[in-house]
Amino acid sequence: MLTEFFGASTLEAILLTLKLAFITSGLLLLFALPLAWFLANWQSKAKPLVMSILALPLVLPPTVLGFYLLIAFSPQSALGQGWQSLTGSNLAFSFEGLVLGSVIYSLPFALQPLYSGFSQLDNRYLDVAKTLGFSAFEAFIKIVLPLSKAPIVVALGLSFAHTIGEFGVVLMIGGNIPGETQVLSIALYEQVEALEYSSAHNLALALLIFSFVMLAALYRFNGVTRSDEAR
């Protein structure tokens, strides 16, 4: 049924996009959790500078970021060369390159909710945990993470949704290779270019509904969590 509605190539793009979004948001959570915790507890004059660098993808035009990533992924750069010697393949215009680019591009969407949640956490919970004999790592796992359920879900949701919708960066570093780098937004762009408005309508509507449901679920979850905390 889905194949009839979207077409085989579009369905392939949907599956590739979902795969990219799951891997990206999973990697981001693993990476952003300790980074956000470190930043929330870090006091330094250099902090605003570091925070600005990490938040750059929020304001930078995706093509600018994509351009620099493309240069960084090229076989002439250290990163591209290193990747090629390790795997024997190019980082640019590959799914792996797409994952790395998406992680960098969506980083602030995972980092900001986590940083905000950790900063607002009452440190006395950790003081109590310390006096109860918890190590710093155990307190983070047993106390901080359960208390930060809402920011973690928001970070996951936003980075997932943002990866689903990314276009500029993906186009710059991944191109438009069906089954390898052709994600939903690029498939939609191609359908419009080819004047396939019927397919484009189906895809655009599906993306619109997905984005709306995702955001509504996040707001709903956040509201429920906050009323739980207020009680």
Partner: protein, 408 residues
């Protein structure tokens, strides 16, 4: 026991305590640095330099805000505390019973009232089996009856040598009742430190309390130590003996010699300076004792509950008043009590009236505070009486009187 804590620009406290002190009260004005001191002692202030005699022991802390982990229920909080509990830690059931919160075990943290959450927080700290427990106004939202029972439970743990308890409170009656020693902190420094009754006397003088409490200590009269049981009634809980003449009958009431009956009445008998005093069970705290010794207890008496009787001849025969307790005393000091209304209306005097009550003009004071030395004892009572009574009874320093007071 020497304790020092230094937190730059916040506290620089040196505390010297007797080795046998197990329940230590800490008080002082808001913002004096009491909580910072406790945070330093608990090891949660990174910049603090602390020296304590318990470096290798487990220190627990309970804040005024209970800080129960909200992602789990009461049982979950206790289970988390039990993960790293000392081998000699008490069971969850014992801690819950001692803190009067067994019925809360399955409740979500969000469903607890302020007082309930504080009780659970103390139970959680005890489940972890600390050697030293720091309570930072941790019982402030608990009703007085439950609070006293929890203090008694903690005091019993202290008396039995299982725990050293440091308690911050603004309730001087609670501290007077339970503290072996009292520390007064002001502006980050230890202003006063020593035996509770001595520090309280100085605090009352310093802060100009109108109705200070005095702390009396004595031996608990048990069924075995009871010496005057010949008139006891088997039926009546309390019998009245107006014609008693013997020295042992001086307190005119005899309570049935039956421990169960005593607990039903909730009244304890305490021998102070050779006289029997009646005290409600929740107002008594137990002192550390050696094996085989009689049980020593402590209780507090508010100055406003003490009346003065100049008829010393009828010490044991005050048959027409309801006040149970009587102690022969000598008046050692008389001073006017600050009149809060007159000081409020007199802005020029406001600055120093709080701290120097003796400077107040007696014309502004409706009451005077008598300091009474209990005969045959080194203990002191305070009595707050009206100026009219002072004049009518012609009271003077050196005069022998009977201090009568209701059940504390």
């Amino acid at each position: 026991m020497q304790i020092s804590a230094l937190l730059p620009n916040r506290i620089n406290a040196q505390i010297s305590l007797q080795p046998q002190s197990r329940f230590i009260g800490v008080t002082g004005p808001s913002g004096a640095g009491k909580s910072s001191l406790f945070r330093a002692l608990a090891g949660v202030e990174k910049s603090a330099k602390v020296q304590t005699p318990w470096t290798s022991q487990k220190v627990g802390i309970v804040f005024q805000q209970p800080m129960l982990f909200p992602h789990t229920d009461v049982r979950g909080n206790l289970a988390l505390a039990q993960r790293h509990a000392s081998p000699n830690a008490m069971s969850i059931d014992t801690c819950l019973r001692g803190c009067y919160c067994e019925h809360l075990i399955d409740k979500p943290v969000q469903a607890l009232s302020g007082g309930e959450a504080q009780r659970v927080a103390i139970a959680r700290a005890l489940v972890n089996g600390p050697d030293v427990l720091l309570l930072d106004e941790s019982l402030s939202a608990i009703d007085i009856f439950t609070r006293r029972k929890i203090y008694q439970f903690l005091n019993n743990l202290c008396v039995s040598g299982k725990l050293i308890c440091f308690v911050i409170s603004h309730d001087l009656d609670d501290l007077a009742l339970f503290s072996d020693e009292l520390v007064f902190i002001d502006q980050g420094r230890t202003e006063l430190c020593g035996k509770t009754r001595d520090v309280l006397t100085q605090v009352f003088a310093k802060e100009g309390f109108a109705t200070p409490s005095s702390v009396l200590e004595g031996l608990k009269v048990t069924a075995q130590s009871e010496a005057f049981d010949s008139y006891q009634s088997q039926n009546a809980v309390v019998s009245y003996k107006p014609d008693s003449e013997t020295q042992q009958d001086r307190n005119v009431l005899t309570i049935q010699d039956n421990e169960e009956c005593q607990s039903e009445n909730g009244i304890e008998r305490v021998e102070v300076a050779g006289h029997e005093i009646f005290v409600t069970a929740e107002s008594v705290s137990y002192l550390p004792q050696q094996c085989g010794e009689q049980v020593s207890v402590r209780f507090a008496v508010k100055a406003c509950d003490v009346s003065i009787d100049t008829n010393t001849a009828d010490f044991g025969n005050a048959s027409t008043i309801s006040i149970l307790n009587a102690l022969p005393c000598v008046i050692s000091r008389i001073e006017p009590v600050a009149n809060p209304l007159s000081s409020l209306n007199d802005p020029e005097n406001n600055a120093d009236t709080k701290r120097t009550p003796t400077k107040l003009a007696t014309a502004n004071s409706a009451k005077v505070l008598l300091k009474l030395d209990v005969l045959n004892s080194n203990q002191t009572l305070y009595a707050s009486i009206s100026c009219i009574s002072l004049t009518r009874l012609e009271l003077a320093v050196g005069m022998q009187v009977i201090a009568r007071f209701k059940l504390p």
